[in-house]
């Protein structure tokens, strides 16, 4: 690393980028090897050593105490105190320090705001201010854009440029190629824990993608045009609260037809999770109706919804999708363990379960040592395949997949995508929710964009990604064409703001 340089660390999910940086920040101890700062080897026993050496880090999951104020979060660990050994906090000085740093780098934050009330973009800004008040020379940004809208991403990149101008070095960890090309001075690509190459920002996307995954990958999903049938899922006027009793879904209308894929795009936390959970009966609906094939299903138990012919891949597989300690075979019958041929009366039928597990493992290419291995020991991709296998093994009318390929290797992504399309072609209505815009564009026949609990636009898959990106940020074109109730809208129209082709917010995923 050189002073005043932005060095991008590029790699797939699980390639070891974050682990490397956590070592650099002193959170993990290296098994072998050493770290050199200014030519001298550095032994980091903990984050305080790293901070002392001038290394700061903004973690992917923010390290902010939600019930503390901005100033409290910033001073934590480096408190200015008075009163000697008693150590009373000098809040006034902390506030002044925050104000100074905000001023110098043009990062406006209110020192007295409570973190949990702030939007994600501002929270990230607090993290950066926190690092800067510690006088760091090297700032590590771990996947900083994962939770940001395209516009917030732009702002972040501007901040990074100004930090660079101030002589700070930045390590920028990401798997998004466009951002790297827009800002990095040097690129290091990591795959499976090893450096596989360095590149300059002039390298083409395809080159970088190939380096990242190690083989050429299909960036698109192969599929025939859809032949939509009758409406299967109809949601109208749905209102749902989140866990904190804050309105999360605010009057959503949706229709999914048989034999089509409806993609739901949006920045995380705009109500997608709650929408799905409400449809599945996991969350109470406050108003509105949900009908499945003409039959109202809101207020049903989840089990009843599942047995009515709905398949569901939850967004967090380790919490909601699987019982990690259970075997692969057991996880494959979690939904129908109590029905023939797997169960009768009070007893399970282990033979039938084992036989069906063997079939599923083969059909869905689950790489597992045996059907009796605990599912938690499998890789993310294979765990996800277990869920998909289970959910696609019932006769379905509707298949809902939330973040179906999050944290999944490229091979499994292709497999899961092809399975989704095959299910669509079999005449099932499919709904895919993903925060990866490319996944939505690749799979969907129609795309609904969610913003702050509402469907802000309903567009076709050939809509320019810039337009969808703006929708995700809550900005609709002035002209008609993306009205909430409009059907499959066509391409760009006169009112669309001029898109910038290489805009980093509109991302290619390798």
């Amino acid at each position: 690393m050189e002073p005043g340089e932005i060095h991008a660390l590029l790699g797939e999910n699980g390639a070891g980028k974050s682990t490397l940086m956590n070592v650099l920040y002193g959170l993990y101890q290296p098994d072998e090897g050493e770290i050199l700062v200014d030519g001298k080897p550095l032994k980091l026993k903990g984050p305080s050593d790293a901070i002392a050496a001038g290394i700061g880090m903004v973690h992917q999951h923010f390290m902010l105490v939600p019930v503390f104020t901005v100033a409290e979060n910033i001073m934590l660990g480096a408190e200015q105190v008075k009163g000697g050994i008693v150590g009373f906090l000098d809040r006034r000085r902390a506030r002044r320090e925050v104000a100074e740093v905000s001023e110098r780098y043009n990062l406006r934050v209110d020192p007295d705001a409570v973190i949990e009330d702030l939007p994600v973009g501002i929270q990230q800004r607090v993290e950066i201010v926190k690092a800067l008040t510690r006088d760091v020379d090297l700032l590590i940004l771990d996947e900083p854009t994962a939770v940001l809208t395209p516009q917030e991403t732009e702002e972040l990149l501007a901040v990074m440029r100004s930090l660079k101008a101030a002589g700070k070095s930045i390590v920028f960890i990401t798997h998004k190629l466009g951002e790297v090309k827009a800002i990095a001075d040097r690129i290091t690509v990591i795959r499976r824990g090893k450096t596989v190459g360095t590149a300059s920002p002039e390298a083409s996307r395809d080159e970088l993608a190939a380096l990242m995954v190690g083989r050429s990958v299909k960036l698109t999903v192969e599929k025939q045009p859809a032949t939509p049938g009758k409406p299967i899922l109809q949601v109208s006027g749905l209102v749902v609260d989140d866990d904190r009793q804050v309105r999360a879904v605010d009057g959503v209308d949706l229709t999914v037809h048989a034999g089509e894929v409806l993609g739901v795009a949006g920045v995380q936390g705009n109500g997608q999770t709650e929408l799905i959970e409400a449809i599945m009966g996991l969350r109470p609906t406050l108003a509105g109706t949900v009908t499945l094939d003409g039959q109202p299903i809101h207020g049903w138990s989840t089990k009843k919804v599942l047995h009515a012919g709905v398949g569901y891949v939850p967004e967090d597989r380790s919490v909601d999708g699987l019982v990690k300690e259970f075997s692969v075979a057991e996880n494959l019958v979690l939904d129908i363990y109590d029905r023939p041929p797997f169960g009768k009366g009070l007893a399970l039928k282990p033979d039938a379960i084992a036989r069906s597990a063997k079939e599923r493992i083969e059909q869905f290419d689950v790489r597992t040592p045996s059907a009796d291995a605990a599912v938690g020991t499998l890789s993310g991709g294979n765990q996800q395949k277990v869920i998909v296998a289970r959910e696609l093994s019932r006769p379905l009318k509707l298949f809902i997949a939330a973040q179906p390929t999050r944290g999944v290797d490229v091979g499994s992504i292709e497999f899961i995508h092809s399975r989704v399309i095959r299910e669509r072609d079999a005449g099932t209505a499919v709904m895919v929710v993903s925060s990866e815009l490319d996944e939505v564009i690749g799979l969907a026949d129609r795309i609904a964009v969610m913003y702050r609990g509402r469907i802000i636009g309903l567009v076709g898959p050939d809509t320019p990604r810039e337009e969808i990106g703006l929708l995700m940020a809550g900005i609709t074109p002035d002209a008609a064409g993306a009205t909430p109730t409009g059907g499959a809208a066509g391409g760009p129209d006169a009112g669309t703001p001029a898109p910038t082709p290489e805009s980093p917010g509109n991302e290619d995923k390798a």
Partner: protein, 423 residues
Amino acid sequence: MAVPDVATATVDEGFWTRNRKVGAALLALGVLAAVLFGALATDRQARFTLSETEGGAALEINGTIGAILFGVIATAAGGALLAGVPKRWFTLVLGVGLVAFVLSFLCWQVSAAPEGRNFMPMVNIVRGTFILALPLVFGALAGVLCERSGVVNVAIEGQLLMGAFSGALFGSLFNSVWVGLVAAAIGGAFISLLLAVFAIRYLVDQVVMGVVLNLLAVGITGFLYERLMQTNAEKYNSAPRFTNWEIPLLKDIPVIGPALFRGNLFLYVGLLLVLVIHLALFRTRWGLRTRSVGEHPTAADTLGVKVLGLRYRNVLLAGVVAGIGGASYTLALYTFTKNMIGGKGFIALAALIFGRWSPTGALLAALFFGFADQLATYLGAIGSSIPSQFLAMLPYLATILAVAGLVGRVRAPAADGKPYIKG
């Protein structure tokens, strides 16, 4: 470009907000008080004596009039809440209403008491309240110290008991209250050390560990009590006691003076600790770090805060505080008996929750519990028609309602009870 309107509230919250429901309940209580207590109260004077002698200065009110008057006040407070008051007034109005309800109840009870006993000695009531609340205050403070740093402390009972026992034992052996006090602190810290090592180092479930430690404390102290103290009480169970210290000037304040400022060391230390821990928790570096470790230990770790070290320290400190609380029995009031804490540690846990994990809140909750306890005793003494068990039950009913979210949201530290594993 147009930013669409994202105003919410398509669903009407309805008229019945939580505050309104509370208001309606208070209104009903007030009407009940005015009508029922008013009807049952007698026409005699209800006397609330302010000095230590029966004949001294006293507040007097006609029983019937008092019961109805305070009932009406409670009704009015309930009505105000029902009509909707600003949020910041809510607690105050609710407090006024509840106090009025209690006063209405007392007017009935006191005026209906047999001749010669129809007065309420306020000094005794206040003093009794504080004496009964004191172990709860120490216990709840021990809970605050532990749980604010993310370790659930169910072992308060055991810490109090161990403190009481070692205070009595070493106080007797060395015939010194101060040695007893130090021994009590170490005894409490010993239970805490076990909790800390197993919960922090070996990641044992903290609630289970707390329960086990309580049983361990009962076992050890019970065994040693039978072996040592019962056979030779003279040598092992006759600790000297702290005498009452009068504080000049303050002791002359009416009611409060004789009740509070002629007490023993433990009363002063307990009240002082509430203040000190409150300030420390919210105003000092130690407090900020403690709270951060209880809320988001990973974040604290990334900033160089030593999560485990801080937790060890706080859990041990909690043991010291609870140990001193245990000594408030054996070095001031009674000789040690088997299992003498009798569940107060668990009530302290309730006070901790009722007081929303804050030292001052815990003090108020402990006083509330102590008052209910004292009132039950008093009503028994004047031969009340109300079974004292009902009153003894009241604090716990209130705790359940509080925890269920009736009186504001109760939120535990986010990482409370979760062991911290690096990485």
